[in-house]
Subunit: 891 residues, 2 copies
């Protein structure tokens, strides 16, 4: 016979805290608190297995469920010394949901269950408070009718409003016992009228109604939506907790409150909380009355001048404070607890791990470790890596008013206010004059890099989480809202419209890159403060993680920032970004416009010294850490101007006819540039480009090695390969250049030649590629694009619908799609290692900074992840947690 | 001890015909002919294993190779009754290469080896022909010096020219014995002077030089290129044949000739050949003298009035004719043989399967089967499926002069001449006036379909073998040259330039779609004739194949043609093609421009009857054969006009502002349309479109079922899925429509809902997709694009370089890439069958009509292939051959 029902209370319990999956969070903690001797009103929990059974069997209960409920009820009556339905001294219970993960407000609750016309009289007698008893009764009818019987709450509100109007009352507190009694009668008539049957009188019927309503609420629309948003599987189910009622609203010697064992916003080790006399739990949360602080710290924090619990109820406060310490020592976690005082007796109704801000999470974890409550491993596991984002970027003052005029994707966190500019050049000009500007574009391209650098924030009306704007902004640490579709830019007039709001260049807007909001005007921001706790936690993470964490960086600024954040090398240096800086683009364009290899080589020769100087600086900054340089990747047309006017300028600079520029641009134009003439296809067709780049890398290595005496081991990365032969051809060119540089300079150096795995075929043929490649770096952006057949630049048209309709659980450009892209990575890693057992494996897509993806990388045993500088700490922490998870597979 | 050398001659041989891999084609056939008693000059073969050993061991021979050569030489001397290097009666030999596959002219040959100043005297004595002897000697020196010693041929030509000039001779035949003797001396001096050492005198040295040269020639540039072009692996190696010389040039009782056992151009069962008196084999091929026909048939065919061998040498002719029959009966294949008559004795020097035209191959295979020489299985195996293309399309008269002005890809076979038009509308206008036009575009789009239909041929300057133009042209059976990059179209002036040739609309050009050539002016064409043999062979293929062959078709014309070619259903009906016909495009555009679902539904309602009528016609034509209808696939912007003028027209027709059309077009514009908002992503975001299409399909099924009583089982195909959930959502819509139609009509019908597998993720998740999908159709075009990350529209920029540099052996858009795309197909088939054991599997990409790909499909056990109507016979024959191959895995 299965056990469906678990009792708790009176210092013992059938369950315990570890049984969350079975009893839900609330039920498991009630059991645990009972076990450790906290004053929990007794009760019992119908397990989540009942819920699962219920939905697997056409909403029927298990056969022996009713018997077990009856037994438990009988036990409860004994515990409480009261009987369910006893007109003399009725047992009243609450019926609440409690799922494995907290889903606040999503499912149904019924309080005061067990009241009817007879038992209410008993309640009057025992409490000596008729007003309280009838108020409780009418609340029960209202709640039960709404939740169980489906009679909408507003009908009851209307009845109550009428009753008050008739009596010339304005407040509920004006109502006297007889008034409530009259309302009870009206409520019962209302139910009879709406349903054609009377309000259930029999407490047992009420109880089964309540249980059914809670299980039923698991499938209500709110709960389904919440689960989808929070990734909670349907099959988890909810438990139902039936618990003896205690009343904080039975008189002035009653109270109810909530408390946190530490400060949830700062993490300070202060007991924090508030309470209300003569109130029910809901009243504290609802904020109808201003609650009183529990102690001086809370009082100061809230800035209210009200007497504290510590002052007014010192004994009970001390008891509560004892429980605070007991709970923290027992759970070894900051707790969020609810308490009720019924006629001077303290009850603890609930405890759970308290929600906290990112800084608080960090401080609590580090403090608890210092206090010896938890060890480093646990401390590292306690902080959500994604939350570090908040610590690293400025954020908007949460108290400042916001005039939101549009929404897009939260593409790069942080917040910024600035004047609208519509072109990259304008952004640079304005920034040089000291203006803070926000670059607003339909979408950005590599040509806009200087403008993005100059801007304090970037807003695009097209593109997704991994659009050019999003990727570059994250890399630069600039806040970015991408794909704000409701905003329209008229490039001719320069007018920006969103609904009926109309803006023009020069107007100030504010971006919240963490929320994806665009606001009119300036909104105050808060600068981040990095505490010593942060460094300490990162140190522990560094001890625990197995994977290295590198950064994607190409500019000295980014590289330095990456080092500051603790990056252990560069995993992806996108050489093409270097092509856009300053005057270089002119030379690059000369190279593209060349008609002969000789002309092209002349232009490349002019690029060589600049490119070499870039690498010298990167190698110096990275001081011995590995640097992976990706050879030219984007299609050449990305470097050509788009507008006629720009073409004229380029033609003039290159000394050719404008027609020629136009023709070359049109010749290079592609239907699907993502799948076009790019990556190593450029190297195969124009080997001289890769030759120049290899030379720049190797000459830089020689120069730095000579100057610093430090060994430099560049990793030369060939992009977009799908066949071993591509690598053979290009590696032989690279090797040839290396030999030449060694010979010319007389300095020998080591280097690796490897490839990106960013096409499904590359993953499948990894065994062959590894014959030539000395390392693989997974380019998961492109691998995701090709595996799904989704262009990230165009995904905004349908990806939201896909997430909404649950086709995809998460955006695959944010978190690696384990079952598709992940299988390819798995195949590639396995096959690559079969050929070359020690092959170095890393990831350099945007996913390298996403905690869930980092976890996946650990499971495939990659050697490192590489992400944008700002995400390095996130990746490090995620890597440490992933390493811990792999060590304890069932945690 | 390994056997490296194989003897043949004198009615016996160490080898036989089946040992081609070891002995090369020539060596194996020489052995075989010896065995069956043909008069083959004796000799021996150094096997291909020697070649493999040679290259695997730094160009060294196996240890015992020299001994084996010496033994064989000794045996040869016994056979010939002559001794190598014997001044009295020297044995002379030829040294020739002979690889597993014929590589004509690619590798080196040395004749008359064994001659030196002493042995030439013996030759004079024995032949009594000093002129012949010294001519042979000087030829030997020249050939050996060129091939073995590396002294270029032209030096010898200069010496000879001088010699003739000094003697006032014009022809080689003017040279007398003493003249040749003098030239020999000069040749020897030339070698001494060029190399600093004398011409090798010792016959054994000559022999080893010859053997080394032949093995060495396996790696010469010509041979490497040839192997690449013909897909011959390097590791096969070549054999070397050393054979006793016989001389067809020793006097007027000597001759040499070549013959085919049947007519190689028509396949007629006539002995066909030609010969030259007093000549060496090379002379016949070189065409310096006009050879004489061997018999009357050959004489008539060649149109020459010369005495035949049959008339002049009746006994030898009859002997040769006996050998013809003997060879055909033995090899059961048409043979191409070489013979030499030395002083009235007939020798057969070589036999091999004869090359033949496509019609001849067909006729010979069918005839031989009728004659009982081979069975149907063999007959089916003898015809190259790809060659059927020639039989089905008109071809250019090979004798007509061609003024080639540009080259592109041979995108769709056949030939056509017509006037240049630059727009689809112009094509239609001109065609309606009875003009033959060639549509010339940078590339085509679905909007051009009517113009492509109207044109007799299509020329594009961009795009690859599977560009829109190529695919549609093949489907329509229109010749097409695609991606002719040297041709430039100035759309403003209408001037077309290619190099210094300039053309304008109205000028006539000719396309050779089989060769990819563009010619100025009209070139005469030849219409195809389909013989009864063709039908007979196809009948045999139908008996033998396992896979069904369907056709890709959407118009009644195509569907009828497909049926005529024997298609067993439609594997891919691209509904979007129907959207462009006539006025429909206006309604489609109204649908796209709609602002609300209601407006969109109104437009779709107007499309419903037309779309239904289309399906009715297709179902009628297919008369019970399955029809797979793919729901709307391309991105919506493909249906909108591109130019401002066209937008005005559309705006007017749709009754909206032109600005709106422009805005919608710009909103729908995509960076990578191939990876954009298309396929079932349209169905998810605009379910009403698929709803309308499903209704049209089902209502058509009902109508045809009612009218004909024949069961119609439509197969509804969902494109571009990558997740089961997409199929769940869309199948539920389709099922819902089906139920509604059944209810409304009172007619029940069966239908299947399936999906295309055209994304890597779909292949990987096939186990899940098969839970919902009742069939899979592999869309190998898109699957190739995504697996390789290559846009077929842009591939022309680099794919040629990839093929050239051997990165890819074949164009993956022509033949399925087995090791990448193929693995995904394999995975999908396996996983799909794991979930749904009987799942119907087919292929509907362009590869369905490619023989090598069809073979792959058989190996994965697909149920059917689907291809364009013109390729149905090719696919059928290929399917039959593939089925045979699978049955006999080592054939």
């Amino acid at each position: 016979m299965s056990k469906w029902v678990y009792k708790f209370g009176g210092g013992s319990a059938d369950g315990r805290a570890e049984m969350k999956n079975l009893l839900g969070g609330k039920g498991a903690n009630l059991a645990e608190m009972s076990l450790i001797g906290l004053p929990v009103p007794p009760g019992f929990t119908a397990s989540t297995e009942v819920c699962t059974y219920f939905y697997a069997n056409g909403r029927k209960y298990p056969d022996d469920f009713e018997d077990q409920i009856n037994d438990a009820l009988h036990w409860l009556e004994e515990q409480a010394g009261k009987t369910f339905g006893d007109p003399g001294d009725p047992l009243l219970v609450s019926v609440r949901s409690g799922a494995r993960a907290s889903m606040p407000g999503m499912m149904d609750t019924v309080l005061n269950l067990g009241l009817n016309d007879e038992t209410v009289a008993g309640l009057v007698r025992n409490t000596g408070d008729a007003r309280f008893a009838y108020d409780s009764y009418r609340r029960f009818i209202q709640m039960f009718s709404d939740v169980v019987l489906g009679v909408d709450m507003h009908y009851f509100d209307e009845v109550l409003d009428t009753a008050k109007r008739e009596r010339n009352y304005t407040l509920d507190t004006d109502m006297r016992a007889e008034d409530w009694q009259a309302v009870v009668e009206l409520y019962k008539q209302l139910v009879q009228q709406k349903l054609g049957s009377p309000f259930p009188h029999e407490p047992k019927d009420q109880l089964w109604g309540g249980i059914g309503a809670v299980f039923g609420s698991w499938m209500n629309q709110r709960a389904i939506t919440y689960r989808r948003l929070h990734g909670i599987p349907e099959h988890w189910g909810t438990a139902v907790n039936i618990q003896t009622m205690v009343f904080g609203n039975m008189g002035e010697d009653c109270a109810t409150g909530v408390a946190f064992t530490r400060d949830p916003s700062t993490g300070d080790n202060n007991f924090y909380g508030e309470f209300l006399f003569n109130a029910q739990g809901e009243d504290v949360v609802a904020g109808i009355r201003t609650p009183q602080p529990i102690n001086k710290v809370a009082s100061e924090k809230a800035g209210v001048d009200m007497p504290t619990m510590e002052e007014m109820l010192p004994t009970l406060y001390n008891e509560l404070h004892d429980y605070r310490l007991k709970l923290e020592n027992h759970y070894r976690e900051m707790q969020d607890l609810e308490f009720t005082i019924e006629t001077n007796k303290l009850y603890i109704l609930q405890t759970r791990n308290g929600k906290r801000t990112a800084p608080a999470a960090l401080k609590i974890a580090v403090d608890m470790c210092r206090e010896g409550l938890i060890d480093k491993t646990e401390a590292v596991g306690r902080v959500d890596p994604a939350s570090l984002d908040q610590l690293l970027h400025p954020t908007l003052d949460p108290n400042a008013p916001r005039d939101v005029i549009g929404r897009g994707l939260p593409a790069s966190p942080g917040a910024a206010s600035g004047k609208i500019v519509l072109t990259a050049d304008e952004a640079q000009d304005q920034a040089e004059k000291g203006e803070h500007v926000i670059l607003v574009r339909e979408e950005t391209s590599p040509e806009d890099i200087h403008g993005m650098h100059a801007a304090v924030g970037i807003l695009t009306t097209r593109g997704g989480m991994t659009s050019h704007a999003a990727v570059v902004a994250r890399g630069m640490g600039r806040p970015c809202v991408a794909g704000a579709g409701e905003i329209h830019i008229d490039m001719e007039t320069g007018v920006i419209t969103s609904g009926d709001v109309s803006l023009k260049p020069g107007d100030v807007i504010t971006l919240d890159g963490g929320k994806g909001e665009v606001m009119k005007g300036a909104v105050a921001t808060i600068e981040p403060k990095l505490s010593g706790d942060f460094a300490e936690l990162m140190g522990w993470a560094d001890e625990l993680r197995r994977m290295r964490v590198r950064s994607n960086a190409e500019t000295p600024t980014d590289a330095k920032m990456a080092r500051n954040f603790g990056a252990e090398g560069i995993g992806l240096c996108r050489t093409e970004h270097m092509f856009f800086e300053g005057d270089r683009i002119t030379t690059v364009r000369r190279m593209i416009l060349a008609d002969t290899e000789a002309e092209r080589r002349r232009a490349l020769n002019d690029l060589l010294p600049v490119q070499r100087a870039d690498f010298v600086e990167l190698f110096q900054i990275m001081a011995g850490f590995p640097v992976t340089v990706r050879l030219l990747d984007p299609p050449l047309h990305e470097f050509l101007p788009k507008t006629d006017a720009d073409m004229e300028v380029v033609a003039k600079a290159a000394g050719v006819d404008a027609l020629k520029v136009r023709q070359r641009a049109s010749l290079l134009q592609e239907a699907n540039p993502m799948l076009g003439h790019r990556g190593c296809r450029l190297g195969i067709t124009f080997p001289e480009i890769y030759e120049m780049q290899a030379r720049a890398i190797f000459e830089a290595a020689v120069e730095v090695q000579k100057a610093s005496g430090q060994t430099v081991t560049p990793e030369v990365m060939i992009p977009l390969a799908f066949a071993k032969k591509e690598l053979d051809i290009l590696k032989s060119i690279i090797d040839h250049v290396a030999q030449a540089v060694i010979k010319e300079s007389g300095v020998t150096f080591q280097y690796l030649v490897g490839t990106m795995i960013e096409l499904p075929r590359a993953a499948l043929r990894a065994n062959e590629l590894a014959e030539t490649a000395e390392f693989f770096s997974f380019g998961t952006n492109d691998l995701t694009q090709t595996t799904f057949g989704i262009s990230r630049d165009d995904a905004a048209h349908f990806l939201p619908a896909y997430i909404n309709q649950n086709v995809l659980e998460t955006d695959p450009f944010v978190t690696i799609d384990q079952s598709g892209v992940g299988e390819l990575i798995h195949i590639a890693a396995e096959r690559g290692r079969e050929t070359r057992s020690g092959i170095k494996l890393g990831i350099c897509g945007e996913h390298g900074g996403d905690p869930a993806s980092v976890r996946f990388c650990e499971s495939v045993n990659l050697d490192y992840v590489s992400c944008s500088p700002y995400r390095v700490p996130i990746a490090k922490l995620a890597a440490a947690q992933a390493a811990l998870d792999e060590r304890e597979p069932d945690s």
